[in-house]
Amino acid sequence: MDMGLALQARDVRMEYVDQATGDRLLAIDRVDIDIAEGQFVSIVGPSGCGKSTFLKIVNGLFPATAGTIEIRQSPKGVAHAMVFQDSSLFPWYDIVDNVAYGLVCQGVPRKEAQRRAQPLIDLVSLTGFEGKFPYQLSGGMQQRANLARALTVDPEILLMDEPFAALDAQTRELMQAELLRIWNEANKTVLFITHQIDEAIYLSDRVLVMSARPGRILADITIDLRRPRKLEIKRTPEFIAYADQIWGLISTQLKPHIHDKAAHPGGEAVA
């Protein structure tokens, strides 16, 4: 892998086979991605294009059919950690145990894991909510805890799978600004999946546009907006120009096709 890269994906391909019918479905094909250390990179694309699938492959939840993904190994911490979509906190754990979970998985004793989770709880502004259960928190606060849980294991690269998709529009905006603040402090490489174009532009150094299935990288757009970015930046002409450019690319992908059931990975992966 090249120096200074946190992640390098080469020629990644994912094919599903429907167990019942034997039909093959090509979810993603020939995906090449380089992410430099410390960069914030988003992938946007039409729904069902395989962007979440790609993230799950990076996360090691299932193997790709072909291709390689390399992630820089840091001496301490782990290679990657995932911030899942909504309600992925364990409802039977309180917030501190949820945030400490990644460390417990590494064999850290529970008490010490809780102690090491505390700075991250503070970072995401959940101080005082350690003993609450997830149902006692709002959606935005749950996603803060979700983010803290991933940061606790000190990953080389943070994977985020549409983490704000279930939030209402206002909370979502606030969480975007919060994420930039936390990213700035935590100093992490981020790979962020979303279907919201403005979210991708606002957060990222680079936005990768994915094609309709089979997912491929259509464009790699560098977002040249000064940081730190305030939410008001979304109304500037530069921002809107980026949004138009990306929307133009995505709209070519939205052919009026019949949405077949196989669009979602229900079948078994071809290893």
């Binding site: 996360n59 309600s87 364990f90 417990v104 998985c105 590494q106 006692q136």
Partner: protein
């Protein structure tokens, strides 16, 4: 134009406990229903409309109970019944929960156990009673423990197994993504989400275990509260027989209530449903 909405004056919440209990409609009407029924029974029996020899009467049951607890035989019977129930039920828990968890986790084990689970669950277990008595002997607790065990075991195993199989894939993904060991994943995800199913199993199990105690005792007639009931009915002592029945009912209530306590202990992470809030 404006619409006036009449507001109801707020009724102050009474401070004292009794006053608050009296305002609780559910409790009030429940209590009234019970008292009325007991009153009709008592008066009917005293007037002679209800035959005391068969149906007893509330005050008679209390009297019979007071007399009964003074006999040494009663305590022997109570201890015997309790021992049979407790041993059979605890054995069912000790074996039922781990086997249910394992069968839920390992598909092949479930396939292997399925025919047996279906067979014993469909079988009217009472029909096995004479056979169990031959196997384990008329005297002594063994045959009764076996009946109690068979009653409770399947009620626990089957829901536990199903609970494991309904574990939410999202949470399994989280555990896998953080590289939890298989055992940690089981402990942190599968078991907590299976607890409600286990509790359901225990609740069904208590009822079935009690049925087991009663039937086995009525059948073998060696010792226990079941024998007390049988003896009393043979002597046409309705009050005394009903005292025995009352004891079983109280045991059932204690059993279910203790399970509810255990449940509350494990379920504090669950939001109160709108049904609970009323």
């Amino acid at each position: 134009m404006s619409v006036a909405v009449a507001s109801q004056p707020l009724r102050p919440r009474p401070r004292n406990r009794l006053a608050r209990a009296l305002m609780n409609e559910r409790l009030l009407y429940g209590l009234a229903g019970v008292v009325l029924f007991l009153l009709v029974w008592e008066v009917g029996s005293r007037v002679g409309v209800i035959d005391r020899a068969f149906f007893g009467r509330p005050t008679g049951i209390v009297e019979a109970g007071m007399k009964e607890v003074q006999t040494p035989r009663f305590w022997g019977d109570l201890a015997a019944s309790f021992f049979e129930f407790a041993s059979g039920f605890i054995l069912a828990i000790i074996l039922g929960i781990p086997i249910g968890l394992a069968a839920g986790r390992f598909r092949r084990l479930q396939y292997a156990l399925d025919p047996w689970l279906n067979f014993f669950n469909s079988l009217p277990r009472i029909a096995l009673l004479p056979v169990l008595v031959i196997m384990f002997g008329v005297f002594g607790p063994a045959s009764k423990i076996a009946v109690v065990f068979l009653g409770a075991f399947f009620s626990i195993v089957i829901p536990t197994m199903q609970g494991v199989r309904t574990t939410d894939a999202r949470f399994v993904d989280v555990a896998r993504s953080f590289r939890a060991s298989e055992w940690l994943m089981f402990r942190s995800v599968v078991i907590p989400s299976t607890v409600p199913f286990i509790i359901t199993g225990l609740r069904l199990g208590v009822a079935r275990a009690l049925i087991g105690v009663v039937t086995a005792e009525l059948y073998t007639q060696t010792e226990g509260i079941g024998v007390l009931i049988r003896r009393a009915t043979e002597l046409r002592q309705g009050d005394r027989a009903l005292f025995g029945v009352l004891l079983f009912t109280i045991s059932g209530i204690i059993g279910v209530e203790s399970i509810r306590r255990v449940e509350a202990r494990f379920q504090k992470w669950r939001p109160a449903t709108s049904l609970d809030r009323r």
